[in-house]
């Protein structure tokens, strides 16, 4: 029995490592995207005021357009994360849970 438990644990840990690798594949680019989008905008606001003040649509300058785009980006990322997590992460998490739950190693 003890050997079965150890094997189940090892299998579950391997599945978790796979899950983490899968998460990193999506989360690193997504995190870079929103950090660059938002922190980048504040850097521009601080050091490139003329550029930010360029008129884009009628009375709207580039700064307000980028602010609006940041709202859109956050919302799109939220929806995308929800979908990716349900499609890619949840099955792997369920696999790890399944491997461990039958073995008696879970408490």
């Amino acid at each position: 029995m003890a050997r079965d438990e150890a094997a189940a644990l090892a299998a579950a840990h391997a599945s978790v490592r796979q899950l983490i690798a899968e998460k990193l594949r999506y989360l690193i680019p997504m995190t870079i995207l929103f950090m660059v989008g938002y922190v980048g905008l504040t850097v521009l606001a601080g050091f490139a005021k003329d550029l930010i003040g360029t008129k884009v649509v009628g009375p709207l300058n580039l700064g307000f357009v980028l602010i609006a785009l940041n709202y859109l980006l956050s919302w799109v990322l939220a929806i995308a994360y929800g979908r990716i997590a349900a499609a890619k992460f949840d099955p792997l998490a369920a696999k790890a849970t399944g491997e461990i739950s039958g073995s008696g190693a879970a408490r």
């Binding site: 579950a12 938002y38 922190v39 850097v43 919302w75 949840d90």
Partner: protein, 507 residues
């Protein structure tokens, strides 16, 4: 005035009815701290919106935009973007590893007493730094809106929050937040429609009118935050600090599992995000319709911009519509404060009663019914302390504390939390090092900066996050290295990771 007071009384009666209902359903520690983890994603999403939008957001963002243009829009955007970090990295692991508090996560990772103590210090400092300006703000606001004195306003707010938390625990706090969020979003929607009706449903008119009235400089950045590094500090403080705010993060314990926690973040991003985006239009509309002079005349900081705008849109001063809208917005502002201070009181009592007394002093060996009793008593004590601090804070510059709360959350709590969840070698020394470096650098730099010392500032930034956050991480890494290898902790890390990502605790 009568209409405003009438609406206060209605909201107060609703929240007391909620508390009565919740009190009958609150008997165990899981009920008290986490509403028995039975909320739905939508419920928790609304509650998160009610929790995260403080009066500074409800009233402040509109005022900042009206008086300073684009910088106000930056202030409003940050709190939405912050939820990206929470969604990607924090919400699900928090739900999977903790029970009631931030300290639970650190404790289950490190299993040492000193790391738990460090986590408690982080929570208590951040919560009190956040709570004190909320109480002081409540005093000023309720006095301005109803005419009762500052001290009585603080006492009224304090006693209300004590009643909600001590009797109704997390369930009452949650529903007070949900009611507040619904009221806030309704007020926002009504104001938005009335504004758009004024400009023939073309929001660009608001920008053109503002530019004509206040020159092109008004629509440029830098009118409020003059130092670019303060802008960057603000951005970092928001995006990473929210993850370190215990009173918001403990909301994830109120849902059954990580999937629901995740969906509740998506809810709050749309609910609160839409409101934040609205405040930028509200601010421009107020600058156009009400005018900066009238806004400054009512309150120099612009905190009465939204009530004034609502009054204008309702038909103006002295009309029934104007008074009704003013009363409604004022009542929502008070509901906003009540929802936030209740959450802070509950989360602080979690750190003191659950983390400190039960787990640190008693090693977890406290009988359930006694633990609930201790938690209730602790929340009463914290509430009374908050009332005292609120009264003492009258006339004191508490702006520095607002900055400090979010700065410590980003520089001390966030590095410790994120490294606990994701770094195998991270150990007790790292928790202590990160907490100390983040906390000390935030406090010292905020105290010697312009927010505290004005023209005599020894260093230029109002918000020190851009420096204190890297120092917090540095402290965490150096602390880990100096502590030496904790092989037992590293061996446990696989089991911990299993729990972080699946919620299953293994032997």
């Amino acid at each position: 005035m009568t209409l405003t007071l009438g609406m206060f009384v209605v909201i107060l009666l609703i929240t007391l009815a909620i508390t009565y209902w919740a009190a009958k359903r609150t008997s165990t520690t899981a009920d008290f701290y986490a509403a028995d983890s039975r909320l739905t994603a939508a419920q928790n999403g609304f509650a998160l919106a009610g929790d995260w939008c403080s009066a500074a957001a409800f009233l402040g963002f509109t005022g900042l935009t009206a008086l300073y243009g684009m910088d106000g829009a930056f202030y409003a955007l940050g709190p939405l973007v912050a939820f990206c970090t929470v969604l990607f990295l924090i919400a699900e692991p928090m739900r999977n590893t903790g029970k009631y508090t931030l300290g639970d996560v650190i404790r289950s990772r490190m299993q040492t007493r000193s790391s738990l103590l460090a986590a408690i210090v982080g929570t208590v400092v951040v919560n009190f730094a956040y709570l004190m300006p909320q109480m002081a703000g409540a005093g000023v606001l309720v006095r301005l809106l109803t005419g009762i004195s500052y001290d009585w306003a603080v006492i009224f707010v304090g006693i209300s929050m004590i009643v909600y938390v001590a009797f109704g625990g997390m369930l009452a706090t949650t529903w007070v937040q949900i009611v507040k969020a619904v009221l806030m979003l309704s007020a926002g929607a009504i104001i938005l429609v009335l504004i758009l009706a004024q400009v023939h449903f073309n929001p660009l008119t608001l920008f053109a009118a503002a530019e004509q009235k206040y020159t092109a400089k008004y629509l440029l950045p830098g009118n409020y935050l003059k130092n670019p590094f303060d802008q960057i500090s603000l951005a970092l403080g928001y995006t990473l600090g929210l993850s370190g705010l215990p009173h918001v993060m403990t909301r994830f314990y109120t849902v059954p599992d990580a999937k629901v926690a995740r969906r509740s973040v998506v809810w709050v991003m749309f609910l609160a995000g839409a409101f934040f985006a609205g405040t930028t239009l509200f601010g421009l509309a107020a600058a156009d319709f009400v005018g900066q002079d009238a806004i400054r005349a009512a309150d120099r900081g612009g905190n009465l911009t939204l009530p004034l705008l609502a009054q204008y849109l309702g038909g103006g001063k002295g009309t029934f519509g104007g008074d009704l809208m003013l009363g409604f917005v004022a009542a929502v502002a008070v509901a906003t404060i009540l929802a936030v201070v209740s959450a802070l009181t509950l989360s602080t009592s979690g750190a003191i009663a659950h983390d400190f007394y039960v787990n640190w002093v008693k090693g977890g060996k406290v009988e359930g019914r006694r633990e609930v009793w201790i938690a209730r008593a602790t929340s009463v004590a914290i509430g009374l302390l908050a009332i005292a601090l609120g009264i003492l804070a009258q006339g004191v510059n508490v702006a520095v504390l607002v900055i400090l709360a979010i700065c410590v959350a980003a520089s001390a709590n966030f590095p410790v939390l994120i490294l606990s969840l994701f770094w195998r070698r991270f150990n007790t020394g790292g928790v202590i090092g990160g907490m100390t470096a983040g906390l000390v650098s935030s406090v010292v730099l905020a105290m010697i900066g312009p927010a505290m010392r004005g023209a005599d500032a020894l260093w230029p930034l109002v918000n020190p996050t851009v420096v204190s956050l890297p120092l917090g991480f540095l402290g965490a890494v150096l602390g880990t290295l100096f502590w030496g290898r904790d092989t037992e902790n590293e061996r446990r890390f696989d089991a911990f990771l299993l729990q972080v990502h699946t919620g299953v605790a293994s032997k």
